[in-house]
């Protein structure tokens, strides 16, 4: 492998990482508020199909992204209503949301299979991206810059703002947050809606950034990788950024090795299983280092039941 390949590999790996990064950042905020939404894959599919449909119909990818976010946020409200207002089980509701999203996207997308759109390209003039290194800076789709800004924004929000502090408090100790007078349910609704919107935008990367078409199950399980990624990153935005690019690198490097005529040596199933094995390893490492305490928000997945 020569140096000329480094830039193209990075560009491909950025493409592979961006959707899982965006979706995982959304889920990170949701989980920080103490809610586990396993419906990421379903919401991503809804985002993907809506982004495609809107972009195909109007020719405006910005509108496509916006409505994808709105549609997935709306779908996440089914989850929020059931789990937060009716304190239904989060695991079951999240899985149901994925089944719903898969079915909905397939049904809604029937009218859109076999139709092309064009890729949502760089917003910068092409002259800026002629040199390989400048291509790394200016050559991306707006979705890529958005994902990077989102890393910083989520970090800043959680660490530096009062709202972020409240959100974390709700996730760590909902009863205390409630007794100080914060609306636990309200905060969680907002977090779930944000997570839904980000899953939608993550899903929109598939038709707009990676492969400008609609096909059933277009996201092919990336939503589950996003869920793994949040854990892998120990619920920290910058680690999540590193993790997303690491996962992207693993997916990309295998393809490049094979495409160079090499065999890769290791069975490709091993590469495909690696992100999940790595996530388990990280979970173990975190627990070992903290001697019996996980990094997960204390209220993760538990319903909020104030004692009246």
């Amino acid at each position: 492998m020569n140096m000329d390949l480094v830039v193209p590999i990075i560009i491909t790996l950025i493409g592979a990482s961006t959707p899982i990064l965006i979706a995982a950042l959304g889920e990170l905020v949701v989980e920080k508020s103490g809610v586990l939404n396993l419906g990421v894959e379903g919401m991503m599919l809804i985002g993907a199909v809506v982004a495609f449909a809107v972009t195909y119909t109007t020719g405006n990818p910005w509108l496509g992204i916006l409505l994808a976010a709105a549609a997935s946020a709306a779908a996440s409200m089914i989850f929020a209503f059931l789990t937060l207002s009716l304190s239904a089980n989060q695991v079951a509701t999240g899985l149901a949301l994925t089944i719903f999203g898969t079915g909905f996207s397939a049904l809604f997308g029937q009218a859109y299979t076999g139709k092309p759109i064009s890729i949502f390209r760089s917003i910068f003039p092409e002259a800026l991206a002629t040199h390989p290194l400048w291509r790394l800076v200016f050559g991306h789709s707006p979705l890529v810059y958005f994902s990077l800004l989102l890393v910083v924004a989520v970090w800043w929000f959680l660490k530096k703002t009062r709202a972020g502090l409240i959100l974390r408090a709700v996730g760590e100790n909902d009863l205390s947050a409630h007794s100080i007078g914060y609306s636990v349910i309200g905060v969680r609704y907002a977090a779930v809606a944000f997570g839904g919107a980000m899953a939608g935008i993550g899903g929109s990367c598939f038709p707009l950034l990676l492969t400008p078409q609609w096909a059933e199950r277009l996201t092919a399980g990336r939503g589950w990788i996003a869920l793994a990624l949040v854990v892998f990153a120990a619920w920290r935005p910058f680690r999540l950024f590193g993790g997303a690019y690491l996962f992207g690198l693993v997916m990309t490097i295998e393809l490049y090795t094979k495409a160079s005529g090499g065999t890769g040596g290791v069975p490709s199933e091993f590469w495909a299983a690696l992100p999940y094995l790595a996530t388990i390893a990280v979970l173990v490492l975190i627990s070992l280092r903290r001697s019996g305490h996980s990094a997960a928000p204390a209220c993760l997945g538990k319903p909020f039941l104030p004692t009246n």
């Binding site: 493409g15 299979t113 076999g114 492969t211 400008p212 078409q213 092919a220 495409a259």
Partner: protein, 360 residues
């Protein structure tokens, strides 16, 4: 139209305790001949299932209201398809086309329960009294595409995206490579197997990886236009439609296509069944029978290259050219086929080696 072959008469006779013979015949005469299709994907997949959908439409055009078609989409390979097959048989379908390899075991199973229903299984190898198999010689089309690639590639590097190294895929890669290297012996073909039948984003990334490493022509053996769209975006020489004409996705890069046309076989089967002459066998026609059609050539391809491709096609049609004519050396340097010899059908289905020039 009463269908009385000797076999079915015997069977109806055997069942006459339960069902009066007359009732059976009346049932067969009344109404249209019901035909079912069981498919692994949605009909708008722009590839495999779309090809069978087009075939079903051709049946309707040919036979009109003499037949009635039920087309079931997105049936998982496994016990679920067994239920769908049985359901179709119970609803009175007299011919059932199962269009994916993974349906095979269940076709055989259900066919045993419904001896008076005729089953046709695409790409399979298990047959019985009322189960036939059919396929198309797609590798003949690959040879034509390889000829184009041999003439058009400037980097001498072709990228080939496949799903799993099954014989169907392997023989396509080999036919393509042999044809391309006949024109340009420097051609090398880099193969990426995705270990997945359906992951468009991964297909697109594989296409990017291949182009980044010098491939200027892409070939895919996966459904959908993902690789072609990347070819179009990158502005390389081009790629080929798989299963269907995909030029809508890549007007500049769509060099040509291998189009699956199942209509001749489907019409043949229905005619045979109506005439009572259907017998279980394996049908494996190719370009000559019109089952494999070469799509329109892109207007950017020079006339002499088109002529060369057409010459290969015509050679295959009139039998003067076999894509697998020796000497063939595999990519480890061993001679597999002696000069002048050809690979027979059994050899094709056992193919687990790549020809010289393939990196996989």
């Amino acid at each position: 139209m009463a269908i009385f072959t000797r076999r079915s008469v015997l069977k109806i006779g055997g069942a006459s305790l339960a069902l009066p013979l007359l009732g059976q015949a009346v049932l067969a005469q009344d109404g249209p001949l019901k035909i079912g299709f069981v498919n692994v994907g949605p009909k708008d997949d722009n590839g495999w299932t779309f090809g069978h959908w087009t075939g079903a439409k051709a049946l309707e055009a040919e036979f009109g209201d003499k037949i009635e078609i039920t087309f079931v989409e997105t049936v998982p390979e496994g016990p679920d398809c067994e239920r769908v097959l049985r359901e179709l048989a119970q609803q009175g379908n007299k011919i059932i086309f199962a269009t994916s390899f993974g349906f095979g075991d269940y076709v055989i199973k259900v066919a045993r329960e419904f001896p008076d229903v005729i089953f046709e299984h695409a790409t399979g190898y298990q047959r019985s009294d009322n189960v036939g198999t059919y396929n198309a010689r797609f590798h003949e089309g690959r040879a034509v595409m390889g000829t184009l690639a041999g003439h058009l590639s400037k980097t001498n590097t072709i990228g080939y995206i496949g799903s799993f190294p099954i014989p169907e895929v392997v023989m396509g890669i080999n036919a393509f490579t042999l044809a391309a290297r006949k024109i340009n012996p420097d051609i090398k073909v880099n193969v990426v197997m995705l270990s997945s039948w359906h992951d468009p984003a991964k297909e697109a990334d594989a296409a990017r990886a291949l182009i980044d490493q010098g491939a200027d022509i892409l070939v895919q053996h996966t459904d959908g236009p993902a690789a072609l769209q990347v070819a179009e975006e990158r502005g390389i020489v081009g790629g080929f439609g798989q299963g269907a004409d995909m030029s809508a996705f890549a007007p500049k890069s769509h060099l040509s296509a291998i189009i699956d046309v199942w209509a001749p076989h489907y019409i043949q089967v229905v005619n045979d069944v109506m005439a009572g002459t259907w017998v279980s066998d394996d049908s494996w026609p190719g370009i000559a029978a019109g089952e494999v059609v070469i799509g329109p050539y892109n207007e950017k391809i020079p006339a002499d290259v088109v002529a060369a491709a057409e010459a290969v096609k015509n050679g295959i049609v009139d039998g003067t050219l076999n894509p697998f004519t020796g000497p063939i050396v595999d990519n480890a340097g061993t001679e597999r086929v002696a000069a002048g010899a050809v690979v027979d059908d059994a050899g094709l289905w056992a193919m687990d080696w790549y020809v010289e020039g393939v990196n996989a």
